[in-house]
Every structure is written in structure tokens, then in C-alpha cells.
Amino acid sequence: MPVKVYLTQMLVRHLGIEPELTAEADTVEGLLDSIDVHHQGFKDSICDESGRIRVYVNVFVNGRMLDREPKALSTRLSAGDEVHILASVAGGIRGP
């Protein structure tokens, strides 16, 4: 079922990917796998190898933010759903 995906410009720049995509998937993990086929490294950019969504990445399904636990990737998707993938606000990044 087609799902609309919106990506932050930071990710667009990092991966060289389009900012808006349409993909077929029943779950969030299926969606990441589906996009990863054409854009290798996409899934790895969103979640680590243990299945946790990365600390400074926020994934929203129809405006609701998913938590970071691996089970979040099992979230079901329906036709017409909208998924936003954004970077967290992180103004206090360590320096100098």
C-alpha cells in the first residue's frame, strides 16, 4: 500500500535522495527496507543494527512520533499514511 514519505534536508544532503518519496510497505521496517533497495544506507541512517531508531532521528507516522525501541519498527502502515523523518533539535552539540 502506498505511503508518502517526507525527509529532512539534512538526510537528503547526506544520502543524495529525493525529499519526498512514495513507497509500498505494511510496516515502518518494511518501508525502510523498501527505500533501502534503491538508496543503500537509508535504513542504517535511520536505525542502528540493534533495531533502535537513532538518538537524533525522529520518525513520525501521521504526526505521531515513534519511540526508539526496536518494536517501533513493527508499527503498521496503511494506504495514504504520511511518514516524516526528521533530525532532532540538538543545539547543544559538544564542542569546541
Binding site: 539534512m10 538526510l11 544532503r13 547526506h14 544520502l15 543503500q40 544506507g41 542504517d44 541512517s45 535511520i46 542502528d48 543494527e49 540493534s50 533495531g51 533502535r52 537513532r54 537524533y56 532521528v57 533530525a87 532532532s88 540538538a90 552539540i93 559538544r94 564542542g95 569546541p96
Partner: protein
Amino acid sequence: MKLLVGTLKGGFILEGDSARRNWKMRGPLFDGYETYDMVADASGGKPELYAAVNTWTWGPVIYKSTDQGKSWKRSAKNPRFSRKESGLAVKRVWNLQPDGQGNIYAGVEPAALFVSRDGSRSWEEFESLNYHSTRAKWQPGQGGLCLHTIVMHSKDKRKIRVAISAVGVLGSDDAGEHWRFMNNNIRADFNPVKYPRYGQCVHKIDYNPDYPDTLYLQNHGGVYRSEDFGTKWIEIGKHLSSDFGFPIGVNKTKPDIAYVVPLIGNGRFAPDGRFRMWVTRDAGKTWSPMGRGLPNRAYFGVLREAMATDAEEPGGVYVGTTDGQIYFTRNEGRSWEMMAENLPRVTSLSMSPA
């Protein structure tokens, strides 16, 4: 030649003329993301460059350049743990090490070792090390539980030594199938047992590839030399102004010459603020400070990967600071010049021959 510079805000390349007098800088690379190491692999003739870029958002990735650093390509596959049930996930890539035969090794945090045999198109992990039976007892150092040093024996590639903070040195003599601790005589001042089997906070190891059995080691406390590729360690740093420090560098033509940067343990700056490189020219029997051209009041530190030595004659030494300066010498340390300033915190330096 090129000096590859990793910083907290991207990578830089300083290109020098044959006299090592004039240097032109390019950067920042990698969109300003934290870059912990940049290395050149010249095994195929023309150097290929690799960079360990730890993006704070999208995870750690390896970048590769086949045109001397003019353009870079992000690897689609990167070092990652294969056992999902372990719960382990790579947080940072700390160290990249070409073995001279086309393979690239990567040391990561949490401590683990990976290798790519196809130019970073895919990565394999060393399971017997990464899921070692003692792993649950490994403790992190201040920088995290990181595998930060990889040393390949230049004449027998089956022999590998790695250093982990705060676990110490582990070695394999069978290309990574089996690993053993190699911390014989290395102190752990912070431990009730001063010479434990493991738990040392080794900071860096360096060597001259033409004399691969001789290793030099900067420990959390203590400087050491080994003449048998890490089986036994001899303490050689008792006459330094401080035997705490992070990097250690070995002259690439004269194996008895090595350099350290003594620091105060708590402040991570030079004793009395007098920034000095210390050199031994007799394999650690004696040490002397070198300060001509270096500041007398400075409160920066030098990170473990932020020293490089070139293979020129007389030998060059390059050192990057936590305040963004790069100092270098073209005469084995007798005088020093500033090559760059106002960079971000320098995390790594290494040489590329072209």
C-alpha cells in the same frame, strides 16, 4: 605529500610541497561532521583515502576518495555488529588501518574490530574478539569503550595487535581467529591489582614498519617499548615530566627515535602549561624536551590519534591540538612551526604520500 586532518567538525587536507615548507589547506569535508580518522591506502599504487565520519544524526559512516581527496563517496555498507541479540550497535569509528594488501581494518566504539576486503563495499567482523568471553567485564575509559589502535605486523599479516580503552592490548597471531591479552608489565594505577591480565587503559601504540617487532606504547600512566610485538613490555618513561599522555609517534626511518606529549592527567595540558614534545633517540633510555617554536603558556591537549610522523629525512613530526593548532617539525623536533590554527579540535593526523 598530504597531511590528512580529522577534526570534530569535518576533515581537512593540507598539501605540502617537497620541501615541506608551504602547505595549502582544503576543507572542511564531510559536511562538518565529526571525523575521527583519515588514512591513505597506497597498496594499489595510487593512494586511496578513507575517512571515519561519525555523524551525530545518521550514524558512523566510511567515506572513500579515489582522486586524492578531491571528491568523496559515502560507503553504503559500514562496520556493523552482526549479532542483533547482542544489543550492540556501532556508535563511532575510531581508527582505520590499511594492511598494505588492500584490506582496511576499522576499530570502533563500543570496542570491536572489523575489516573490509573490497574497498569498503562490505565489512566483516572479528567475532572471536567482538564477542570475547570477557567482554561483559570490559570497562570504558573517559572517551568510551573504544578500540582505538590497530597494529599490523608488516612482515607477517597474520599478526594483529589492537588496543582498547580500558581493556588494554589484545593480540592475534592467526589473522584474528583467536585473541589473547598482551598486557604483560603494563600498569593499571587505578586498579587495586597493579598488573591485571586486562583492564589497562592503553592510549596509543606506534611503530616503524621496517622494524615491526618493536612497538612503542603510551599508557594512561607509563610509556613502554616491546621488542617482541607485544609479548613483553619494558617501561621506558620514568624520566618524562609526566608519563601520562595520549599519542606516541615513532620516527619512520630511525626506529630508536620516538615522540610523546606529556600531559597532566586531570587538566589534559602540559605540566606548568609549557607545551613540549619529548623525544628519545635511544629507544627510551633517555628523553629530552623539545620546545623551540612551541608555546610556553598553553592549556590545550593532544588527542591519541593527533600525531603523525613522515618518512622523510630528516623525519617530520606533526601534532594537532584540542584548540585547533597544528605544529610540525622538519628536523626531528629541533625546531617547530605552526602549520595551521583556528581549526576545530583536532582528532587525528596521518600522512598520505601523494
